[in-house]
């Protein structure tokens, strides 16, 4: 893997801004996209990446973020469907090597995962951790929460 990656992050909410600050500090080139300019206020003062204001489901916005040159796309917008759409566009149209979409709905996440879209589901992860702690480190469920 290259030392410095070109990373596009969709959504500058709590997760997006955290990732952007962290990855920028680690020496990667980061571009953050969010339709609400105010969210960029969550970026730290030493964030050295770029900010793009716009709707990531618009092709022009993804082009402005130079997605075609990106090594990684992290889709962390509030809406699951935005993340699923942008992740597919990044992978299939822009041929970004590493694409990850956050999907809150465990059912939706499972279906897309089975169809080869890289997804991460916070709901399932937290549920697994909580169930694990309740069961005293018992089996971690594969599927979403009951």
């Amino acid at each position: 893997m290259k030392e410095s990656l070109y990373i596009v992050i969709v959504g500058c909410g709590r997760l997006g801004s955290y990732l952007a600050n962290h990855l920028s500090r680690a020496g990667h080139s980061v571009v953050v996209i969010d339709s609400n300019e105010e969210t960029f206020g969550d970026l730290s003062s030493d964030f050295s990446g770029f900010r793009v204001v716009g709707d990531a489901t618009e092709l022009a916005v993804l082009r402005e973020a130079k997605l075609d040159e990106a090594d990684v796309l992290l889709a962390t917008a509030r809406e699951d469907n935005v993340n699923l759409m942008v992740a597919q566009i990044a992978g299939k149209l822009f041929h970004v090597a590493h694409v990850l979409a956050r999907v809150f709905d465990p059912r939706r996440e499972q279906i897309y995962k089975q169809h080869g879209i890289e997804t991460v589901c916070p709901t399932s992860l937290v549920a697994a951790a909580l169930i694990g702690s309740v069961a005293g480190g018992g089996a971690v469920p594969e599927e979403g929460p009951p």
Partner: protein, 220 residues
């Protein structure tokens, strides 16, 4: 045929009414409880209140036995996911998404979802109606490789009064039908075209303008 429509507003209502009138079984998914009540009152259709991109809601709407899904919400990301879930999870044979942003039409097709753009359809209609009242593209056939066009020959059209055999048309073009006094004529070389004839033309995109010019003259 069973049709499942996800969306809102007047387009949804009139589409449902249209499909009901054709005798189709119609199921609607809409997110707004108040609108659902209105829809259920006005349409004799099953109305499900919820998020159409939720697999549970699609299941409740009977997606598994559905022949066609139309996703016409104002949000392209929702329309894409609705159609993909319908196809991937419920094996719906035809799922069609509205691309509100016309740029998304080709993108959806590349992601395996049939798409249409109202903006493109309407703007094409407006351009045609505005520029040449008498010339209407009826439909593109063969993935846009062939055009079927309808036009009315006016008095000063070069083709008016001529025999078809005397009109020089480009290769791969055909005057398929002439409608005169509501009677269709399939013209042959010896058929005389008259002003007022409504012609149905078969053309290719590359010779379309030349065919129109040969029949109607230079319109620019």
């Amino acid at each position: 045929m069973k049709v499942l429509i996800v969306g809102a507003g007047k387009t949804l209502y009139f589409l449902c009414r249209h499909f009901k009138a054709k005798g189709y079984e119609v199921v609607v998914i809409n997110r707004n409880p108040a609108e659902c009540v209105q829809l259920a009152r006005k349409l004799s259709a099953l109305v499900i209140c919820g998020d159409g991109s939720d697999a549970m809601i699609l299941k409740e709407a009977g997606a598994r036995e559905t022949d066609v899904v139309f996703a016409i919400t104002p949000y392209d990301q929702d329309n894409l996911v609705i159609c993909q879930l319908a196809a991937m999870q419920f094996g719906v044979p035809r799922a069609i998404a509205l691309a509100n942003d016309p740029d998304n039409e080709p993108i959806f097709e590349k992601l395996g979802v049939s798409a249409f753009s109202t903006t493109q359809i309407v703007s094409r209609l407006i351009e045609e109606r505005a520029s040449l009242e008498q010339i209407i593209t009826l439909l593109p056939v063969g993935q846009g490789r062939v055009n079927v066009t309808e036009m009315v020959l006016d008095l000063d059209a070069p083709a008016a009064g001529k025999f078809l055999k005397d009109i020089v048309l480009p290769e791969d073009a055909l005057v398929a039908v002439a409608i005169r006094d509501d009677r269709p004529i399939v013209p042959r070389g010896g058929t005389q075209l008259l002003a007022g004839d409504r012609l149905v033309l078969i053309t290719l995109p590359e010779n379309h303008d030349a065919v129109i010019e040969a029949l109607m003259g230079d319109r620019k």
